[in-house]
């Protein structure tokens, strides 16, 4: 089954492996800052994949996508989060997770295996080596992102979970539908930044009013006169 690959495509598989690893790393990291850092790494790899595939398929479109990814996810989102969130929140260590690290890693592993199994019937339909690599790993990224959205208790790692899901979908998308209209990608990129700003602001407000952003601890309703400043 040794499909002959060009050099950029071979490098794309390398970056695919690293994307999967950074997805696992986001699950395994305790510190909020570390999670954000691995998200930046994953986004940079995603952009690298865009450039490599753009080079392989002579598609200007993919170059543009890579540039958007770098601007939105590698530069803008970490900057926005750092600006919006209080420092105490940004460097915070999340002690209390739903699962401990080894078991959440094992669950993430199960999700990755599930992604591969789910995709394997589709594999017979295409001989394209890029799709064969990107689709399962993208799907695994989506599932692992959804899992960390569920298993995390802090607001910011949950946000990164959403963004990691988006990254996974994007990674599969650049292989399947390279000619998706640019306007759709631009909208997504804007939305992603907006989500980051809104969640960041909400988290900051919650922290100011309640003193914590542990979503897991916010179980009781409190009556209090609304005081919008």
């Amino acid at each position: 089954m040794a499909a002959q690959m060009s050099a950029p495509e071979a490098l794309n598989t390398l970056s695919a492996g690293l994307v999967l690893i950074s997805a696992f790393a986001m699950v395994a990291t305790r510190q909020v800052q570390g999670v954000v850092r691995f998200f930046v790494v994953q986004s940079a790899l995603l952009a690298a994949s865009c450039f490599l595939l753009g080079f392989a398929q002579h598609s200007l479109h993919l170059y543009a996508l890579g540039a958007i990814t770098i601007i939105a996810k590698v530069v803008a989102i970490p900057w926005v989060l750092k600006r919006v969130l209080a420092r105490a929140l940004y460097v915070r260590r999340e002690i209390d997770q739903v699962f401990n690290i080894p078991s959440s890693l094992l669950l993430a592993l199960l999700l990755a295996i599930m992604a591969v199994l789910l995709v394997s019937p589709l594999m017979s339909m295409t001989p394209d080596p890029v799709i064969r690599i990107n689709l399962p790993i993208g799907l695994a990224g989506v599932l692992i992102g959804a899992f960390s959205l569920m298993a995390r208790r802090e607001a910011v790692p949950q946000l990164i979970g959403i963004l990691a899901m988006e990254n996974g979908a994007f990674f599969a998308g650049i292989a399947i539908a390279a000619e998706l209209p640019l306007i759709a990608e631009l909208t997504v990129a804007f939305n992603v930044i907006l989500i980051a700003v809104i969640v960041g602001l909400v988290a900051k407000n919650i922290q100011e009013r309640i003193g914590t952003t542990e979503a897991g601890a916010l179980t009781r309703l409190r009556e209090e006169p609304m005081s919008w400043r």
Binding site: M1, A2, A3, Q4, M5, A10, L11, T13, L14, A16, G17, L18, L20, I21, F24, A28, I101, P102, L105, L106, A108, L109, A112, I113, V116, S120, M123, P129, R132, I133, P136, I137
Partner: protein
Amino acid sequence: MRQAIAFNFIQILFVVGFAPLYSGVLSRLKEIVQSKRGASIFQPYRDLWKLFHKDQVISSETTWIFQFTPYLVFIAPAFVAILIPVLTNYPLVFAFMGDMLAGGFFLGLAGFFAALAAVDTGNPYGPMGASRTRMVGFLAEPVFMIVFFTVSFVAQSTIPYIVQQKWIANPASFFSPAHVLLLIAFLMLILAEGGRIPVDNPTGHFELAMIDESKGLEFSGRDAALMKWGGQMKFLVLACIFLNVLLAPWGLAQGRGLLEVLAAIPLVLIKVLLFAVVLVTIETSLAKLRLFRISEFLGAAFIASVTAMIVSIFFAY
């Protein structure tokens, strides 16, 4: 035939001769990064020389295990060196005597006897270190196994020489996600097995925090030298497996001439030196993990190796 046996001996001599140098280079690099001057890179040789000329004390409470262990610890890595490609690109005489799993078992046997000898002495720190090493060992074992299964699945063989040819022959599989994940899992394994920093501090002299070192506390004189040398050789052998079989299978001797084999020595040394730089970067940028965090570290290695296996099964290249 006779020539191939000679090459095997050159491989063993390479491992035996350069292992202390490698450990010296590693600690010197580390000291430089920490803005100290550090001892000369030849210091481990001087240490060994000094230990060989010292008197030996053996507790009357110990059994034959205590006296037998240093020789086993010294011989096991040298034995593994004839199974793996240290200098040559093609299988030598003994290459088909055992595969990578056999190499792992030999190193495991030496580790087992070292733990027994530590318990044998009755020194309170010995058994503690031995049980900790066993803990790291049994957490590392599944990773070891799955890495080898994945390799054997990808290359259809567990003989290291054939595995190495597989990566050279097919660059697509070299860049495949399975290979990357495998490399990371194996690197974490080397850090754990070699007692390097996120798992154990090789330069630590605080007995309560020791994992690997405390097993050798009771040895003196020649036995201590052999234990030390054996540990350095084990680390060099692991580095050779990682570099020559998995990460960078280039720069080894292709032809059958003696000169070519000798010319491979500096190339392999350069590769190993580059690896030392990477190791020093890892060691100085991380802190030692708490004992019960080691399971998380090796758990992550396990996840990486299992993912590599799954990916390689479903996307055979």
